[in-house]
């Protein structure tokens, strides 16, 4: 883990191992999610990988009927919307992610503050670049 570069590709690799990984500033201790190669808070250049507990709560959300190509491919549409939102982890950092285990057809029933736990789902990736447009990828999502 220590020698993995601080990149999105490393984050994806950790997801295949069912690990939700962030970086931590070695100076101020800030947890950086998405993982960053330097600290956005104190500007320190020295960070390290840390594994998150994967527990958090919904800060805000939407339910999308007209989705991204990846989500349309995954079977979502106006009749079957999906939920995504901003999740705040117990460690204090936040991430935007798909939220599963909620009734996306009745968004008025979904509550801000609902506790969620990380889960890992495989679906096609999203890109305008044809060569990587349909590559399967493991995504960190959150389950209510």
């Amino acid at each position: 883990m220590a020698d993995m570069p601080f990149t999105a590709a490393s984050f994806d690799k950790f997801c295949t191992e069912k690990k939700l990984m962030a970086t931590k500033c070695k100076k101020c201790g800030a947890i950086l999610l998405p993982p960053r190669p330097l600290c956005r808070k104190c500007k320190n250049m020295d960070v390290e990988w840390v594994q998150l507990k994967g527990k958090g709560k919904i800060v805000s959300f939407t339910c999308i009927g007209v989705g991204t190509p990846t989500m349309i491919e995954a079977g979502y549409d106006r009749q079957h919307p999906y939920c995504c939102g901003v999740i705040e982890m117990e460690e204090g950092c936040r991430m935007t992610a798909q939220i599963v285990g909620v009734d996306a057809e009745h968004p008025e029933k979904i509550k801000i503050g609902t506790p969620v736990t990380v889960d890992f789902l495989e679906r096609g990736s999203f890109s305008l670049v044809p060569a990587i447009a349909n590559v399967k990828k493991v995504y960190a999502v959150f389950r209510a």
Binding site: S60, G65, T68, P81, C84, V86, R94
Partner: protein, 421 residues
């Protein structure tokens, strides 16, 4: 950081736009020429194109929609202005405002006396699903789009937070759409020349014509509550909460204060300019406003030495109805929350209200050719300040005005303040 001033005064002495809408068969550079000609026609004493020293063009998607890189240069070429320097600027939906700000900085630095700045966007060349995908690229592809976020989804998440914290309702947002459509109906350059009532009546007429059952809507609000005609795009936002996909161009003529009066007796001085960047949704301290808007506004107010109360009218970024609600609070016109959410419904931001907002129709009704939008805003305040806004002319003396242009969902914000002395 200490208060900053421009190195010397800069004024807007001309502003023009192309017709906004679905402009089949008309390219970016051709729309730019339409805007350029209208801009030249707006200069009180005229200008010899030989006096124009540089061109700054905002555009964020010509690479996708027109398979053309460096579109600014081709706009310069088609305007007959080769070989002056052209700078193409991409800051998503704030591209034209950043281009104008660069033009202002170019003049303030002493490098130029007269420049043009604006933007173009040709968006209707691809199917809607592909265009929606290109618009999503304005947000963080690596992390937000990764999560499944579409562009409306990002603003919808801010709307959910606003509704949760302040009790904002869908009806509050619908009032913003109705106001902006009312204004846009009076704007001959707008994409929608119709009020929402007129759109509703057209739908009824179409049902009659086709011999289908005629919907019995009581009024516009009733129409907007009909999910068959106003479906959810990204809950809680519905179709009529969203701006359209638009082709269009706009540009302004900027001049140094020393030479501005050679062209007009009433230059529109740029007395404040601010620009800030913002991160992804997950890196923000709050979701009920746009942090970069507040920072850019503070810079602009401080430079201008004026307060939000002093501003007579403003064009603000209403790509979605919730965006206008957040903007008028971020700019300090109304208190964040209920007061800002209710402003349109209570008539405070109407054209003849105490603080007219988006008299042009805004992005919602005038249209949102993303790379041109910031310049289109300046066209409206220029016309209002000159008294040339026709049926949209506000009944007050609009001698101090503001434009507010957001890139993507708040990753860039430019706020500028204008004065007619």
């Amino acid at each position: 950081m200490s208060k900053r001033k421009l190195g010397r005064g800069v004024a807007v002495i001309g502003a023009g736009m192309s017709k906004y809408g679905v402009r089949a068969g008309v390219s970016n550079r051709e729309m730019f020429v339409e805007a350029y000609k209208n801009m030249l026609g707006s200069v009180d004493r005229g200008i010899d194109p030989k006096d124009i020293e540089a061109n700054y063009v905002g555009c964020c998607g010509a690479w996708n929609w027109e398979t053309q890189a460096g579109i600014g240069k081709w706009c310069t070429d088609w305007a007959g202005l080769i070989p002056i320097p052209s700078t193409t600027v991409d800051n998503a939906c704030a591209s034209a405002s950043v281009a104008i700000r660069q033009g202002i900085i170019g003049i303030a630095s002493g490098l130029y006396d007269v420049v043009i700045a604006g933007g173009v966007e040709k968006m209707t060349t691809l199917p809607t699903n592909e265009t929606t995908l290109i618009l999503a690229t304005g947000s963080d592809m690596a992390w937000e789009t990764y999560a499944g976020y579409t562009f409306p989804g990002l603003y919808a998440t801010m709307a959910t937070a606003h509704m949760n914290e302040y009790g904002t309702t869908s009806e509050d947002l619908m009032a913003v759409a109705m106001k902006n459509h009312d204004n846009g109906a009076l704007n001959p350059m707008a994409q929608f020349g119709q009020t929402i009532r007129e759109i509703m009546n057209a739908r009824i007429a179409k049902c009659r014509e086709k011999g289908q059952p005629v919907p019995g809507w009581k009024d516009e609000m009733d129409f907007l509550h009909d999910a068959a005609y106003n479906p959810v795009v990204a809950w809680p936002l519905k179709l009529f909460d969203c701006c359209p996909i638009t082709d269009g161009a706009a540009c302004v003529l900027l001049a140094a204060e020393e030479v501005a009066k050679n062209f007009t007796d009433t230059p529109i001085y740029v007395i404040g300019t601010g620009q800030a960047s913002g991160g992804a949704l997950h890196d923000r301290d709050y979701l009920t406003g746009i942090p970069a808007s507040r920072i850019a506004a503070k810079q602009a107010y401080e430079m201008a030495g004026v307060t939000p109360k002093d501003i007579k009218i403003a064009e603000v970024h209403d790509c979605f109805t919730i965006a206008e609600v957040m903007a008028i609070a971020d700019l300090g016109f109304f208190k964040p929350g209920k007061e800002a959410a209710r402003a349109a419904a209570e008539g405070k931001t109407l054209r003849n209200g105490p603080k007219p907002i988006n008299t042009s129709g805004g992005l919602k009704s005038k249209g949102h050719p993303v790379g041109a939008t910031g310049a289109g805003m300046v066209v409206e305040i220029f016309e209002q300040m000159k008294g040339h806004a026709g049926k949209r002319q506000v009944p007050i003396d609009a001698n101090l005005t503001l434009t507010h242009n957001v890139g993507a969902h708040g990753t860039t914000v430019v706020v500028q303040i204008y004065e007619r002395r």
